[in-house]
């Protein structure tokens, strides 16, 4: 099986059901078991696209990788102190988040946002956390919080 013949609705329905199984088991805590999803893809496809040590260069690199692969239309951001708001239009996986909302639960995971968090940790050496995933008609808006490294770690 190749990616070219893998229907996205099939992939998304499987991703949704796997995430739902996590949610059924762990409730809201399930989201913290999914924070590293995308790590392999990040190493293989994204890291090489990041050409600098700023949030802007990270978002640009991840957005470029996702657009080249046809996973999202791109990525933009706004930064205010330690808050970073990502805008992700045209994401292949948005139907997964919509199904969670339809089921009365908050989305558990956003792979593009996970990739940014992984990059922040790898490149900036700063902890980061996804605070909120909002699903809109023009794409998703994901709020991240960036932290200073904690002494002792």
């Amino acid at each position: 099986m190749t990616r070219e013949n893998l229907p996205s609705d099939y992939a998304n329905s499987v991703i949704y059901e796997i995430q739902k199984a996590f949610w059924d088991e762990r409730g809201n805590g399930a989201r913290f078991r999914l924070t590293t999803v995308g790590r392999e893809y990040f190493s293989d496809k994204c890291l090489a696209q990041i050409h600098g040590e700023s949030v802007g260069e990270i978002v640009q690199g991840i957005g470029k990788a996702l657009a080249e692969e046809g996973i999202a239309a791109g990525m933009s951001y706004e930064e205010e102190d330690r808050i970073v708001r990502l805008k992700i239009p045209g994401c292949l996986h948005q139907s997964v988040e919509r199904r969670f909302l339809a089921a009365g639960a908050e989305p558990l995971m956003c792979v593009p946002a996970n990739l940014v968090v992984l990059a922040v940790e790898a490149v900036l050496k700063r902890p980061a956390e996804i605070a909120e995933i909002k699903v809109g008609d023009d794409g998703c808006e994901v709020t991240l919080v960036l932290f200073e490294p904690r002494p002792g770690l």
Binding site: F32, T35, E121, V145, R150, L153
Partner: protein, 224 residues
């Protein structure tokens, strides 16, 4: 004067006297007490009697400091995320005292609510073998046994899940403690001598918790 209890009364007293203790004196916890606590854990029930629990006793100050940093870091990230989205403010909306509310927000977002692992004289890391079916339930039963024995010994403890909730933090723990991949780190129990007595936290009444035969019909009438 010595108080006497039936076995049921004594059991309930230990259960009701248990508190989550996060502040400890420097007094060490004896080896005898540690052994009693671990023996209580060992006697817990487990699916198929698999006994998947394993324990790491941590007294080393540097390791405890790292445990505190991992736990505090995780709590700080999660609670700050809850704060910036205003969900924490919604959760505490019923608390009228603004000073207390501010202190609670500070304690939670700073991560200090979990960083005390560094200050307990001993931390027991509870792990479980993954090659069983009921790992989280089995280890949780063992942990409750530990907490009750801690209470029976006149010590204090807190069941800390913060360093294990997020995969990223659990990976840090695995590396720090050299735990193999086929073992899950479930929780850390901070144990020591409490610095002061603690009042019980409120509990929901039984009539809000128990249903009769099927979900929704209260088993108990609301007490006047």
């Amino acid at each position: 004067m010595t108080e006497t209890y039936t076995l049921a009364e004594a059991t309930m007293k230990v259960i009701q006297d248990r508190r989550s203790i996060r502040s400890f004196t420097d007094e060490p916890v004896s080896e005898e007490a540690i052994r009693m606590i671990l023996e209580a854990a060992r006697q817990a029930p487990s699916g198929e009697n698999a006994q998947p629990w394993r324990f790491i006793v941590v007294r080393d100050a540097e390791t405890r400091k790292a445990l505190g940093a991992i736990g505090g870091g995780g709590s700080g990230r999660r609670f700050t995320a809850e704060f910036v989205t205003k969900k924490m403010q919604e959760r505490f909306a019923g608390l009228q005292d603004e000073e207390k509310k501010k202190a609670a927000f500070e304690k939670l977002t700073s991560g200090n609510v979990s960083a005390f692992l560094a200050d307990a004289p001993v931390d027991i890391v509870v792990c479980g073998r993954k090659n069983v079916w009921d790992l989280p339930y089995d280890t949780s039963a063992a942990i409750e046994n530990m907490l009750l024995m801690v209470t029976g010994l006149g010590l204090g403890a807190c069941w800390v899940i913060a360093p294990c909730i997020d995969v990223r933090d659990e990976e840090r723990l695995h590396k720090l403690l050299n735990v193999p991949d086929d073992i899950k780190i479930v929780s850390i129990i901070a144990i020591g001598h409490p610095t002061r007595p603690h009042r019980p936290r409120p509990r929901l009444p039984l009539h809000e918790l128990v249903y009769n035969e099927v979900w929704g019909t209260p088993y108990y009438k609301e007490e006047a």
